[in-house]
Symmetry: C2
Subunit: 409 residues, 2 copies
């Protein structure tokens, strides 16, 4: 793992040279990217992997159109049956998040998975505790899911929302579960999962990690961190397509936790059509209804992009790209960096506050530099190391400086 | 509406004549059906509508690959933005189930929608009641969802499971909600939604109807029946593709009911990124996470097939097809009809018990007649009036009789 050391404002020639030596350089050709666009929004919707269209064509014409209902069980020996699709995707996710496939349940949205994770976590939490601790700036759906569940449970829990920097100080013995997102969707600040989990465990607190802006952007090791539960998103850095199914991680020591959303596809034998729910083996029990085969097939193929990716190289490039972008944009009086300079505290994005952020992003998109505006005043740029080059970063930074200059003038 | 009157065992020529006069005859060409197959399993997975592949190609290449994140809001004026996709699908579902689009939330699996429906129903149920009444032979996932929810609520409810025929007798004042499937997935028996709902309401009981085997097979009128809540499946008679998103109906008078699964896409303004959940207008609030765009787009296009379909003609043909099948198969000593002869009590399928049902279905599938085996001894044949012809029924019946004869020999 070599992180290129950059001069304060690298020249384009330096960056082109880095591209030429980039061990992940060949990955960009494995994506379909629109002409004339620098795409810095893979943390909102990942780009289209080049192999996905052919896979979906096969699923639509051969598996749905031709084989029809038989596809649920056809080619089971080669693992190509639809029934096994969630398990196949789990097996591909496992090395990206440092988990066993048997600890991963694939399907449903990230929000629904959060509901599953939270109900399971509260089930195994220390009895009598009534606080759910979370980051006040957590992604809204995480907060809403906790609110919805707590309403259903007659408000017996307190949702304690504190600034991320104060989470440690709030790991007290009245806390049942800590539910946080590893990388803040606005600032790109990364929490220390291993340390926070250890601190939580020391107080008897169960942890739930949202990996929406982590998995696929850098190596996640849930097992090493002793994480209890986690959820993640299929359509950001995993490139599974718009609204791709999410996933749930349940550490093997918690597999007996409550399955609040129990459905037939999580039954030990769905086609036995038994009157009572008997959970399937392992995390498969957390699957609820019939898998969305079209969307899930896209995710399945998208994950193949990672098969030959060294996650340490991925992280090194991510940090180099974000370092480069920060260096190039540094000094503009209207752009206030909100992403940590410290590598250990950074995800794979760079965000700035800007007094006219919404308008600035509109102009950037017009120029073909696609990032995100996040309320109230954030310009957010995501760097997917698989398909963003150093030269892309150079051109994007120039556009950002130009637009900031225009708006100042 | 004319239901053809059939002789006891109609000749093939009679059936070919019915096909020639069938007002829905042109619909079959709007589906891609495999050569040499008579598909009587559209109640498990609907066939591929011919327009779906091109739609998905557009979604994959243009909307995902090319427009990327911009597709969430692009072409909003023409209603082609991804954000509005669930609403567009709701608008197409509305006339099929006798509801307003504003009462329908599209997305998530049928099982997850059942969880939403049940939590909402129990919220508006008469206070203090602690019984959830259901059909003992309800589809397993319906039972499992109720079990999972009840576990989460510390077992405060009793799930009372009674034979369908005894539901009326069990509508007592301790019942909070009655949760039933309109058409039994095994027998094809149809319950009287309007009558049961009225009887339930007379006792102050809220109703939840599972339309998995109803919507798209015949006209459903939730409003006329005064149904309170309903859920349905996108991949059976609606032909939305394997694992297509399901939907939830919430009668407008209950729109204030609990949203237990509250997520960001059900927020009044998702991109405000507010810290507290404020429900969206109407049933949109019951959407949870990001819509599965690929699967949902397939469903959206699949529903266009219904645009010119007279649902009364659909029902008339369904009854004629099932009448024909019953007449043709009648008399075989090993096949015991379990589907009601009475039209009012019949869905769009015909089921028989057979002592070797599993093997019989295996042989039928081998001959290109695709139905379903359902444990323990049911042969199930679904008749989708849009793409099953009278001649298909003739050939299928011959195959059934042949196989039954073979197994007897």
């Amino acid at each position: 793992m070599t992180t290129p050391v950059l001069s304060a404002k690298p020249a384009l020639s330096t960056l082109l040279d880095l591209d030429a030596r980039d061990p992940l350089q060949h990955k960009k050709a494995q994506f379909v990217l629109p002409e004339g666009v620098i795409y810095l929004d893979g943390n909102s919707l990942g780009a289209l992997p080049a192999t996905v269209p052919a896979r979906l064509e096969r699923v639509i014409h051969q598996e749905w159109g031709d084989a029809l209902i038989r596809s649920w069980t056809a080619h089971a020996q080669e693992g190509r049956d639809w029934m096994a699709l969630p398990d196949r995707v789990a097996a591909k996710l496992a090395p990206l998040i440092g988990a066993e496939a048997s600890e991963i349940s694939v399907g449903d949205s990230t929000s629904v998975n959060l509901f599953k994770a939270l109900t399971a976590a509260l089930d195994v939490a220390s009895p009598g505790r009534r606080v759910i601790l979370t980051d006040a700036d957590n992604f809204p759906t995480d907060l809403y899911v906790a609110q919805g569940l707590n309403g259903l449970l007659d408000g017996r829990y307190e949702l304690r929302r504190v600034p991320a920097a104060e989470l440690s100080a709030h790991l007290t013995t009245d806390v049942a579960a800590m539910m946080v997102t590893e990388v803040d969707y606005r600032t790109g600040e990364r929490l220390d999962m291993a340390s926070l989990t250890a601190q939580a465990h020391a107080q008897g607190i169960v942890t739930i990690w949202d990996l929406a802006h982590s998995a696929g952007a850098f190596e996640v090791d849930l097992t090493a961190a002793r994480a209890d539960f986690a959820v993640g998103c299929g359509y950001k850095y995993l490139n599974g397509g718009p609204g791709a199914p999410g996933y749930l991680f349940v550490a093997s020591r918690h597999l007996q936790a409550r399955v609040a959303l129990s459905g037939w596809m999580g039954h030990a034998d769905p086609f036995e059509m038994a009157r009572d729910y008997t959970p399937a083996k392992d995390a498969r029990r957390f699957i609820v209804g019939t898998p969305t085969v079209l969307s899930l097939s896209a995710l399945d193929t998208a994950l193949d992009v990672f098969a030959d990716v060294d996650l340490k190289q991925l992280r090194a490039k991510s940090l180099a790209l974000t370092d480069t972008f920060m260096a190039l944009v540094a000094g503009d009086p209207d752009l206030t960096l909100v992403t940590p300079l410290d590598h250990a505290r950074r995800g794979s994005q760079v965000s700035f506050r800007h007094p006219q952020a919404r308008e600035a992003m509109r102009r950037l998109v017009e120029r073909g530099v696609i990032g995100d505006f996040r309320t109230p005043d954030i310009l957010r740029f995501g760097f997917t190391p698989l398909y963003v080059s150093y030269a892309d970063v150079y051109r994007a930074a120039q556009a950002v400086l130009d637009v900031a200059g225009e708006l100042r003038a």
